[in-house]
């Protein structure tokens, strides 16, 4: 997995690409999320448009990120989830946990501005 970061006002967009599957990905993602929270950046949008697939370990990474952000008083949402990943979220009912939007723009407006 690769991560590209963009800040759009108070929302931090993280573009994940490649595949999310555990191994080094877990620490990379957790550290980045911790750093963002420490910097006071609490509105996080994961753009999964370029993520080709995910395994259940990858789902765990998303959940741990979600939990960290929530516990830190922030929000984490998803945008542009590919069909293959969407269907894994559906069957595991994680689609009831993650707020998900078809596009980044549609997600951005839901954060509310400061």
């Amino acid at each position: 997995m690769n991560i590209k970061r963009r800040d759009i006002r108070d929302v931090t967009v993280l573009e994940l690409s490649g595949k999310l599957m555990g191994g080094d990905d877990a620490a990379t993602f957790q550290n980045l999320v911790k750093q963002l929270l420490a910097d006071g950046r609490k509105k996080i949008l994961l753009n999964l448009g370029n993520l080709s697939w995910i395994n259940s370990t990858g789902l765990g990474i998303l959940i741990s990120g979600y939990t960290s952000v929530k516990n830190g008083g922030g929000v984490l949402k998803l945008a542009s989830v590919a069909e293959r990943i969407e269907s894994v979220l559906m069957i595991t009912k994680l689609s009831t946990v993650f707020e998900t939007y078809p596009t980044e723009d549609e997600a951005l407006v839901t954060f509310g501005s400061e």
Partner: protein
Amino acid sequence: MNPSGGWESVELVVPSSLEYLSLVNAVAEEISERLGIEREVRDAIGSSVIEACTNAIEHGNKNDRKKSVRIRFRSNSERLEIEVSDQGKGFDPDSIADPRDPANLMRERGRGIFILRTFMDEVRFAIEPSRGTTVTMSKKLGPALPKEG
């Protein structure tokens, strides 16, 4: 892919490292595409193979690159059967909790077996503690035409 009507098989053996999951995924994709399987079902098969291999690599072979994971794709005109074997100690597949239970929903692990059981039509585990675990999953094939090209 198989005008003779009998079973035909492709075998792939990879070292026990998660890095090889993309190769496994590429092979699963290529085989399902060849069999004329539609996008959605191909995704379900790909996700299932990835889960079975993740377990074989992490739990079965404990990420020991010297141990290998064997994946066998067998197909006839009616179904695609995928076998994933490791050299680990096995486990009790009946003790797997439902990850959708509210008590489990936010857990970081415990979704792999559920995913392959949900996506595939049939899943069997053959566990021989002295030799390893083999997961056999199968998917019925619709009457689709193989892709040309």
